[in-house]
């Protein structure tokens, strides 16, 4: 499926090669036309609930020392986690260091994971994001990073470079869904969420960077995240 997204000059997700029908769907709500098609109408190779259950099952097996399950989990999580770390750190070597730390932590602490408190993927993302943000705060290069240029200039691989395993395909479809949901948000909510998630900035720093009152930023984050939650299927 030729469905892809790119970051524009303001680091907003915009559909870059959508077919006509999907373009209308992805940005429909922004133009006052409510999408009649739900995000869950996509038919990924794994349903969201299935994917979450599989992840949780793999993690429980990892907790028992199952290296095969760990390898499977690595194959499922390594790309999005690496992409996240790279997006935050803008440094491939440091992103790989983070991924190595995260998977070692998952291996050692899998038993403390409680499926009732969230999905395995969410847990892994939190581990990755916290470590990446800690690292940029430690090296005190936030100011440089925030002015860094576009993703292409930072050497990101294109989506076409990904492998075509079943896990990768499922992940790609999931990513398409999420990106469509994010792209459907108003631009100001997108900006606030992207900075909140990837920049490591505090609330006040986000407000300063966007030159908006703090209350406005908080409201945008609230509205954006609630809308994103409503747009995406919840893991079981």
């Amino acid at each position: 499926m030729a469905l892809c997204y790119a970051y524009d000059s303001e680091m907003l997700l915009v559909p870059s090669c959508l077919p006509g029908s999907f373009a209308a769907y992805a940005i429909g709500s922004g133009g006052g036309h409510s999408p009649t098609k739900r995000m869950t109408d996509f038919t990924p190779s794994e349903e969201p609930g299935d994917r979450s259950r599989i992840d949780a099952d793999l993690l429980q097996r990892v907790a028992r020392g199952d290296r095969t399950a760990f390898t499977a989990l690595y194959d499922r999580f390594s790309r999005p986690l690496y992409a996240t770390a790279l997006r935050i750190l803008h440094d491939a070597r440091e992103a790989e260091d983070i991924i190595q730390e995260v998977f070692l932590a998952m291996w050692e602490k899998a038993a403390v994971f409680e499926p009732g408190r969230g999905s395995a993927f969410s847990w892994a993302v939190t581990l990755t994001r916290n470590r990446a943000i800690d690292r940029i705060r430690m090296r005190k290069r936030r100011a440089e990073l925030l002015t860094a240029s576009s993703p292409e200039e930072l050497g990101y691989a294109s989506a076409g470079d990904e492998g075509d395993s079943a896990d990768a395909l499922s992940l790609k479809e999931k990513a398409v869904t999420v990106r469509a949901a994010v792209a459907a948000l108003p631009a100001d909510q997108q900006r606030a969420l992207q900075l909140a998630f990837f920049s490591g900035l505090t609330q006040q720093e986000i407000a300063d960077k966007l030159r908006e009152p703090l209350g406005t930023i908080k409201a945008r984050i609230r509205r954006g995240l609630l809308r994103l939650r409503d747009s995406l299927p919840q893991p079981s």
Partner: protein, 303 residues
């Protein structure tokens, strides 16, 4: 029902953006609210999905090898709950010992929990004490502000009163001045009763209509003479006024004057000698500049 403010805090918490007291307060609320816990869980899931919006990137294949090699040297820190170990008799004694240790540990743990609970209670009490202290401080500060305002008001009232007193004093001074002026006026009116007012009649056969009035103020020793219809004078002549005081042998000089073309003159005059009583006023016709003792004919004479 979760209000917008709580939704906002939940969203910020899901993105790890809460800090300090705000974070502590929210987590306290979160701990006792299952509905809020569910919301935070959902928002965390949604936030985690933002990871998928990062530009696609593939880690180096060597990374996987490194990670797998690393976990090959490490074991999961906590084994799974479902692990079943075979029971063997030789292991009974160590297990019994372990059970004993476990009991001791449980007892110690209970004791520790009790201690922790007590510590938690003390922390709560300390927190309450801090709140009470803060409340008291706030109340005292409020009272201080109110007292300051009252003192400011009293100061303003005092200043107003002082201004009113000053105004009253100046009004009193003005009133005193008016009273003094009235007294002077009364005195003057009293003096007026002492004035000597005399009418002078013509003594000239050619000007029988000539007339004059002389007013004498004994306290100020000065007088006013008004004449009408006196004949005009030659250039070498003056009219001269005389005040007849019985104390003096001769009339006292009151000064010279002339009249205009209509025979009119208004003359303020003083006598050469102190006057104590007046018998009469007289006007004589004298040579220019006057004379010390009347020489010329009488022109006017009071009755």
């Amino acid at each position: 029902m979760i209000d917008e403010r709580t939704e906002e805090l939940a969203s910020l918490h899901a993105l790890d953006l809460l800090e300090g007291a705000e974070l502590a307060a929210f987590e306290t609320q979160l701990a006792s609210d299952p509905q809020l816990q569910a919301l935070v869980r959902e928002l965390r899931e949604a936030a985690a999905m933002l990871a998928l919006t990062a530009p696609a990137a593939v880690p180096d294949a060597a990374l996987k090898a490194r990670v797998l090699q690393q976990i090959g040297q490490a074991q999961p820190r906590e084994t799974g709950r479902n692990t079943i170990l075979p029971f063997r008799l030789p292991t009974l004694i160590p297990w019994a010992a372990a059970a004993g240790f476990a009991l001791v540990a449980a007892w110690l743990g209970q004791d520790l929990l009790a201690t922790r609970e007590e510590a938690a209670n003390q922390r709560t009490e300390a927190r309450l004490a801090q709140l009470v202290l803060r409340d008291t401080a706030n109340r005292l500060e409020a009272e201080r502000i109110v007292l300051n305002q009252q003192m400011d008001n009293s100061g303003r009232q005092l200043a107003d009163t002082q201004r009113q007193l000053a105004t009253t004093a100046s009004e009193a001074a003005a009133a005193n001045q008016r009273v003094a002026a009235l007294n002077q006026q009364l005195k003057a009116e009293g003096d007026l009763a002492q004035f000597n007012i005399s009418t002078l009649s013509s003594m000239l056969g050619n000007s029988p209509q000539a007339v004059a009035v002389a007013v004498w103020n004994p306290s100020r020793q000065e007088g006013l003479l008004a004449v009408e219809k006196l004949p005009a004078l030659a250039q070498n002549q003056d009219y001269q006024l005389w005040v007849v005081d019985p104390k003096y042998q001769n009339p006292v000089n009151g000064g010279v004057f002339t009249v205009d073309a209509n025979g009119v003159a208004r003359v303020q005059f003083k006598a050469d000698q102190p006057i104590s009583a007046i018998n009469a006023f007289a006007v004589t016709l004298e040579r220019k500049g006057g004379v010390p003792k009347a020489e010329g004919p009488f022109v006017l004479l009071s009755h």
